[in-house]
């Protein structure tokens, strides 16, 4: 989750909201995703049953995470997959580099992997003279344009056809401008085939790692994942440590939830289950398979029984698609690799509240994300928890920078609010004052932000309390 400059969320959102094309692209794309998901999950009762199951599977896995990870390592090793542990993203990058160097490799092809984005792997390798070529179509497009993903499963969703046509025309040699989708696809395919052919190492993410069998599941639609993991002689898989599940039978319900939530598909075009390198009697597949298991703050999140629910995430992106904030500002405005609702709870825990805590305020707590999350992560509750953490140091400092926002003005304001709302006489005086003000409320403090887009609220001359007292409603 490399984030160079201090996050200026206000500036980012301001810019994003002004970009009409961007808002249009997101609104259109997210609307489509929402519709597709609705169609595939039309049976509400069945969907609910499946979500409960998904939640239970991930909760069970997290409750035994250390044992499952050890089992995964043991089974993978037995299958011939070499397992590496990385506590930090830098360690993970170094491990990739070491494997590359061991093969004197200078060319890497990549299937789509958010963990590799979290590691900042491309920049790391490029600064050491190694080419890391993205092969997922969306990732390929934004890599050409030197951009970051704006969505966790559809990284170039902020671009429309015309913009992509322009990027291909400008960045790929001898490419005439075309808006024809088939032609654009063909251009990408031709460029990428050469990359697959030349690469010495292929890298991919992992959707589920099965402890019972030592199997790495990789879910994708373009076949670039299969190419990256089978064509080059060496395959490196990178995963966050929360991706482990207990049994092979845990995979089908999670797969169904993942594809239905992410793209509204019953199943993806490719479901890869990788259990070993090429065996002697096999005709294809890599000679070497490595698995890098990354912590990067996850084991700390695991120690908190409430916040650990963050780790249930299967990265389907449906919370982004349904979020009214994400739909309007897009993924880049969040300033971190993981945008949207899941990013709002994940980034502050991994990066600390000082750096990413502002994201917790960027939610109206509308519950749209919680309503669709396939593994039922209570994102709004976790946002509240992180808001609490921002002002308080009560929880033994489990969250980095807890209490960073504590300040006298807000503390006093809420104490005052508490006082008025627990003392009827003060409350009555307050009401008389606001009633007398009517709409002539001075525009300072919070009201200044309110009146940028709205008229000031108009306080009633007589409050409900007063009207009721006059009418003689029973009071006990």
């Amino acid at each position: 989750m490399a984030n160079k400059a201090e996050l200026d969320f206000t500036r980012n959102t301001s810019q994003a909201l002004k970009d009409k094309q961007l808002r249009k692209n997101f609104k259109f794309a997210m609307g489509n995703f929402i519709l597709k998901r609705q169609q595939i999950f039309a049976d509400q009762k069945e969907t609910e049953r499946l979500r409960e199951l998904g939640n239970a599977i991930k909760k069970r896995a997290l409750s035994r995470l250390p044992q499952l990870l050890e089992e995964l390592e043991e089974k993978c090793t037995r299958n011939g997959i070499r397992v590496h542990w990385a506590e930090t993203t830098m360690e993970a990058n170094q491990q990739v580099l070491k494997i590359m160097n061991a093969h004197s490799a200078t060319r890497l092809v990549k299937g789509k992997s958010m963990v590799s984005e979290e590691m900042g792997l491309n920049e790391f390798l490029e600064s050491r003279g190694i080419e890391a070529a993205e092969t997922d179509l969306g990732e390929f497009i934004i890599q050409l344009n030197d951009e970051k993903p704006s969505h966790i499963i559809v990284p170039a969703i902020h671009k429309n056809k015309e913009q992509i046509a322009q990027i291909f025309h400008e960045k790929l040699p001898d490419t005439p401008y075309t808006e024809d989708v088939e032609e654009l696809n063909a251009i990408a395919r031709k460029t990428l085939r050469q990359k697959f052919f030349e690469a010495q190492v292929g890298l991919s993410g992992v959707n589920f790692a099965v402890a019972e069998t030592g199997t790495l599941c990789l879910i994708e639609n373009e076949g670039n994942g299969r190419m990256s993991t089978t064509v080059p002689p060496v395959h490196i898989a990178v995963m966050g440590l929360e991706k482990v599940v207990e049994k092979l039978t845990d995979v089908p319900p999670l797969l169904r939830l993942l594809t239905g939530s992410a793209t509204g598909q019953l199943i993806t075009t490719y479901v890869n289950m990788i259990t070993s390198p090429r065996k002697d009697d096999e005709k294809d597949g890599p000679r070497e398979v490595h698995l890098i298991i990354l912590d990067n703050g996850r084991s700390k999140i695991l120690t908190d029984p409430q916040l650990r629910q963050t780790l249930q995430c299967i990265r389907c992106g449906t919370c982004l698609n349904h979020c009214p904030v994400y739909t309007r500002i897009g993924g880049h405005a969040y300033g971190f690799v993981y945008p949207g609702p899941i990013g709002k709870i994940l980034n502050p825990q991994v990066e600390g509240l000082k750096k990413a805590g502002v994201l917790t305020a960027a939610s109206s707590l509308c519950e749209a994300c919680a309503e669709v999350c396939p593994v039922k992560i209570p994102i709004p509750m976790l946002l509240r928890r992180l808001r609490n953490e921002s002002y308080s140091t009560d929880s033994l400092g489990l969250v980095k920078d807890s209490g960073y926002k504590k300040n006298l003005a807000e503390t006093l304001a809420w104490k005052g609010w508490e006082l008025i709302n627990t003392h009827p006489h003060l409350h009555a005086i307050g009401q008389k004052l606001t009633g007398a003000l009517g709409s002539k409320v001075p525009a300072w403090g919070p009201l200044k932000n309110w009146t940028r887009y709205r008229s000031a609220p108009r306080f009633a001359k007589k409050s409900l309390h007063q009207l009721i007292a006059e009418q003689g409603v029973e009071d006990e």
């Binding site: 749209a368 808001r387 309390h465 007292a469």
Partner: protein, 250 residues
């Protein structure tokens, strides 16, 4: 969800702080609708706010103190009717979470079980029948996020509108999208909130309705305030007040 048992003789009424200060007529209308069905209504005068503003803003301790104050005021075994989906959801679903592990937990849970949102109570407990006395009109409806996702009472609210013969309900395209209020969100992230309410108003205007109804005064304050700011001449109104006017031919 609530168990829908028989009609009670007496209920409590929790007026909510926004209705109290900004929309008292809506509060009175809700109260009158319950009384019209022959149910006695008690309004404990010391009631203030459900505590949600502090609860959502990172100040759970202050929220708890204010919540406990309300809980003590509504101590009899009576249903508590709330003319707001958001405050009802706070009191019904969030109080037990707020008091988890607290000495008062059992008492809080008992209190939370008695919470009803107004539409829910009118439809499912009282089986209210409405006779429209008003002139033909077109309205649209805004679902608050809490009423829709936490209380599950939107169909109750709409069924009340459908009972009014001269009222045509034209639904919004994005009925289930947040209006951008979100309490302190609206002032902490003014630009995002502003963009959300602007889209909501566009949706509202496109219906051609003359009025936007809602069951939550937070959303109403946001939507009406933004419509006024943009010189959109539609009227925003709480459902209870609208119904009361219609059945009394006002």
């Amino acid at each position: 969800m609530n168990d829908y048992t028989s009609k009670p003789d007496t209920v409590y009424y929790f007026g909510t702080c926004l209705i109290d200060m900004l929309y008292p007529e809506a509060g009175i209308a809700g109260l009158n609708l319950i009384r019209r069905e022959g149910v006695r209504v008690i309004f404990p005068p010391e009631q203030t706010c459900c505590g949600q503003p502090a609860y959502n803003s990172g100040f759970p301790r202050e929220a708890k103190t204010v919540a406990l104050k309300q809980i003590r005021l509504f101590s009899k075994e009576l249903p508590i009717v709330v003319p707001s989906g958001s405050c009802a959801a706070m009191m019904k679903h969030h109080y037990p979470l707020l008091f988890e592990g607290d000495a008062n937990f059992k008492r809080v849970r008992e209190f939370s079980k008695r919470i009803y949102e107004l539409s829910e109570f009118l439809v499912r407990i009282l089986g209210i029948k409405l006779e429209d006395q008003g002139a033909p009109t077109k309205v649209t409806w805004h679902s608050s996020c809490s009423a829709a996702r936490e209380m599950g009472v939107i169909e109750d609210s709409k069924s009340l509108i459908h009972q009014l013969n001269n009222v045509e309900l034209i639904e919004l395209k994005n009925e289930h999208e947040c209006c951008g209020f979100g309490g302190t969100f609206s002032v902490k992230q003014p630009e995002i909130s502003g963009a959300m309410v602007a889209d909501k108003i566009e949706d509202i205007v496109q219906t051609g309705a003359s009025r936007i109804l809602a069951g939550d005064c937070g959303c109403l304050m946001n939507i009406s305030g933004a419509m006024e700011y943009q010189n959109v001449s539609l009227k925003g109104q709480h459902l209870a007040e609208f119904i009361w006017e219609r059945i009394n031919g006002k």
